[in-house]
């Protein structure tokens, strides 16, 4: 994905003008004037302790992948100051790092609607009485973000920090580490960031899209937000669609059916073999009827993670695509934690062996064993996400696996992933 493609989609391809679908309502490359015309000016003074309950009622969840309840995160940071005599003032960081190669919705959002993100950051900062505000952004969006911050008087205390373009740079503790020391590697998780993060202060790290939703909820209220989506997954989310045609960013309703989302992106469903939902840490899905929701009971629900939908054409081999991704993930390890540093390359070697012609049936058992071995062990969730991807591949491509072990896989491989 080149930068041009990433920030390229013009706003007419972004479904963002009707009803509550309005993250991009201010149009392409919106400046402050267009932003205020579309959304009205921000009245920060109206944000008080009551906003926390509005945020709670909205049911907004994080759009960076973990889908944790946003108000809980905000509330934990507000309380993270503890009972010290001179409590440290919290820090809020807008996380725009987008190391996931298949994701470009955050870059697109920052390019076209930076002021909505800035509004959200100012609101969150006020809600927790923060004294330090940061926007941590991918290099592609850096100039736009800096220009947007410079354009506003109320954004003077926001510092813009560039994120390195590594897979792991957006992990919350890596964000804090990067801003504090310039090293974008995850930290040990014994202490929560909401209690002691940047400079030992309570630290709130929210994805930029999450903050854009916060800005809209502050303007229109929780009822407005909940008008889209469903009870268990209210509001809208941005998705990055890739794998067929040019990359597209769409704003879709919560709990949407996968096939509806793909259809509205103009994808010919008959050519779809599988969809990688949630990116490199996500899952392969074949049932296009399933719904995209981070929570909720029942079958046929898939967590959209950070909103990545990558299409694997029916003619392509899913095992080989997964092997290539796994190889990337193994190399993307921060190499700090043993199980990840040694386990992921071991998994990658086994899956590559299977994908590229080794027909030893014991390899499958070995891959399953290694996948179990790395899960839940490490300072961040890189091993967990990798294990999730591999497990879903073993489940979804079981037929292909048989074909590989028999030496009869006839699918093509592609280098575009």
């Amino acid at each position: 994905m080149t930068i041009q493609e990433a920030v390229g989609p013009a706003v007419d391809t972004l479904r963002g003008s009707a009803g509550t679908y309005q993250l991009f309502a201010a149009g392409s490359n919106a400046g402050l004037a267009e932003h205020e015309q579309a959304f009205g000016p921000l009245s920060l003074a109206a944000i008080d302790a009551g906003f926390m309950s509005v945020l709670g009622e909205s049911g907004l969840t994080g759009r960076g992948g973990a889908a944790f309840s946003s108000w809980r995160k905000v509330a934990a940071t507000a309380q993270g100051r503890g009972a010290a005599l001179l409590p440290a003032k919290p820090v809020v960081i807008a996380n725009g790092a987008e190391g996931e190669p298949l994701s470009f919705k955050d870059k697109t959002l920052l390019a076209h609607a930076p002021h909505l993100v800035i509004d959200g950051l100012l609101i969150a900062g006020r809600a927790v009485s923060a004294s330090l505000l940061y926007i941590y952004t991918t290099p592609a969006a850096m100039p736009v973000v800096e220009a947007a911050v410079a354009e506003r008087r109320d954004a003077r205390k926001i510092k813009v920090v560039q994120a390195p373009e590594t897979f792991i740079s957006g992990e919350a503790s890596a964000v804090v580490n990067s801003i504090a020391t310039g090293v974008a590697l995850p930290l040990d998780n014994r202490r929560r960031l909401s209690a002691a993060g940047l400079k030992g202060r309570p630290t709130l790290v929210l994805n930029v899209e999450t903050l854009a939703h916060v800005a809209l909820i502050a303007r229109h209220g929780s009822g407005w937000f909940r008008a889209a989506g469903s009870e268990r997954d209210p509001g809208t989310r941005l998705v990055s669609i890739s794998g067929q045609g040019a990359g597209q960013v769409l704003e879709v309703e919560g709990d949407a059916r996968l096939c509806d989302v793909l259809s509205s992106a103009g994808v010919d469903l008959s050519t779809v073999g599988a969809v990688l939902v949630g990116g490199y840490h996500g899952r392969w899905v074949r049932d296009l009827e399933c719904r995209l929701s981070p929570s909720g009971p029942g079958e046929n629900v898939i967590n959209p993670g950070a909103g990545v939908l990558h299409i694997l054409p029916a003619r392509d081999c899913g095992l080989e695509a997964t092997a290539r991704i796994l190889d990337y993930l193994a190399r993307a390890s921060a190499k700090q934690c043993g199980p990840c540093m040694f386990g992921l390359p071991a998994m990658a070697r086994v899956l590559s062996a299977i994908a590229y012609g080794d027909r030893n049936p014991r390899l499958v058992l070995e891959l399953e064993r290694l996948t179990k071995l790395v899960g839940g062990r490490g300072a961040c969730h890189h091993p967990d996400g990798t294990a999730r991807l591999v497990s879903s591949a073993l489940e979804m491509f079981a037929e292909d696996m048989k074909a590989h072990l028999l030496g009869t896989c006839t699918r093509e491989t592609r280098s575009a992933i």
Partner: protein, 185 residues
């Protein structure tokens, strides 16, 4: 009394040197992560610590005996500040340097949990400098330094510690080295 002090001072120095050799070898064994025979790793760690502390105790005996001895008449300044002594100042100074290093290594070892891993490790590495300096002091300064039995003892220690260091630098030193070099298991 003086003869006894003199003899005790010399012998405690030799005992201390031998114990430090064992301590260094145990430290290297520990680092490899391998249990020795049936001794578990945590016991090896404790053994390394206790032998080191014992060696330090004998080193203190060595120094105190020679301070009290009317012939050696080691003074407090010479114990801590190297190369100022009246008799063979260079060789005695090596002993003082080794003692200072031992103090630093032992103190940081005991305070490891407070200092943090990084400072502890940096200072602990000085052990590799301490040991040959102490050996040099023993050979150059010791009354028995060039007598046959001591030369044999020193050569044996040097061979043992040298072999341990060579092993330490080899590719398969770590217990887990093979597994961590990769390859399908």
């Amino acid at each position: 009394m003086d003869n006894a002090l003199w003899a005790f001072g010399r012998m405690s120095g030799v005992v201390s040197l031998v114990l430090f050799s064992v301590a260094v070898i145990l430290g290297i064994l520990n680092r490899s992560g391998r249990p020795l025979f049936a001794i578990p790793r945590f016991s090896m760690t404790l053994l390394h610590r206790n032998v080191s502390l014992l060696a330090t105790v004998f080193l203190v005996f060595h120094i105190v005996a020679l301070m009290l001895d009317s012939y050696a008449k080691l003074n407090v300044i010479d114990v801590f500040v190297p190369f100022l002594g009246g008799f063979k100042p260079f060789w005695q100074g090596l002993g003082t340097v080794a003692f200072d290093l031992v103090l630093a290594v032992v103190a940081t070892g005991l305070l490891r949990h407070r200092l943090g891993q990084r400072s502890f490790r940096a200072i602990h590495w000085l052990s590799y400098a301490m040991w040959p300096i102490a050996l040099g002091h023993a050979i150059g300064n010791g009354t028995d330094g060039t007598s046959k039995w001591f030369v044999v003892l020193a050569a044996g220690s040097l061979a043992a510690v040298g072999a341990a260091v060579a092993w330490r630098l080899s590719a398969n030193f770590l217990e887990t080295a093979k597994a961590r070099q990769g390859g399908l298991s």
